[in-house]
Assembly symmetry: C2
């Protein structure tokens, strides 16, 4: 019998689900969801990005992202002009409060990620990252 890879897809789901749960747990004191954290994180990486591009980066639809951005705007964590200078895309930016919240959230999330990887050596972590990247590359396009 062939050495069947023991359900890599299932293990992927299991790991992602558990990581999401732990992150949600860690972020609860800050009143942030994982999706909101991911949104803020990408906003810092690419200030002025459009909601549609942000949606693609965080794996939700642009409708969901616009709703989420509105929530973050209501909490003064994100700012967005009401009209575009050019084109339709409205650039989104972190406010100072948003940057502060992100920094606090990042500490908590980094703790979870560190815990997740603590049983792996540097080589093993790198191999895991490479494997995941290969999976993504093979499935997209």
């Amino acid at each position: 019998m062939v050495n069947t890879p023991p359900q890599v897809g299932y293990m992927l789901k299991q790991a992602q689900s558990l990581l999401h749960f732990r992150m949600e747990e860690a972020l609860r004191p800050l009143q942030l969801t994982v999706s909101q954290y991911s949104c803020l994180h990408h906003l810092r990486r690419e200030p002025g990005i459009s909601a549609a591009a942000l949606a693609r980066a965080t794996f939700v639809t642009r409708q969901s992202m616009n709703a989420m951005l509105q929530q973050l705007i209501d909490r003064d964590l994100v700012a967005r002009p009401s009209r575009a200078e050019s084109g339709r895309a409205l650039p989104a930016l972190l406010t100072d409060a948003g940057a502060d919240a992100l920094e606090a959230a990042e500490k908590l999330v980094d703790g979870v990620e560190h815990r997740m990887l603590e049983g792996l050596s540097g080589n093993e972590s790198a191999a895991l990252a490479r494997g995941l990247a290969a999976c993504v590359g093979a499935l997209e396009g």
Copy 2:
């Protein structure tokens, strides 16, 4: 600067999200969602399992699982007694049609998983699986 592991959590999310999308795509002709496939798959592995146990295995709440089971029962893919012989748990079982649907779905899903792993050697696949298992172990409990 420390060799920061490049966002293993994010890559996990990315890979899982893309895999889910491809599976959904592959299963669409059979009118099955990924969650439903996962449910049928576990039902074959553990016939007579309760909805609550099934829910834990597929990472949803038992309320969601009971709703999903009802759908599958309505389509004659799953059968379940109306009363328990002992205890409260109602054992769920695949019908013949359910087993057939699962077999067809499995071919499609295996194709997706194979595609996902095609760029990886046997050693690399095994390393990926071990890495994921280590992550799960570190995050649970």
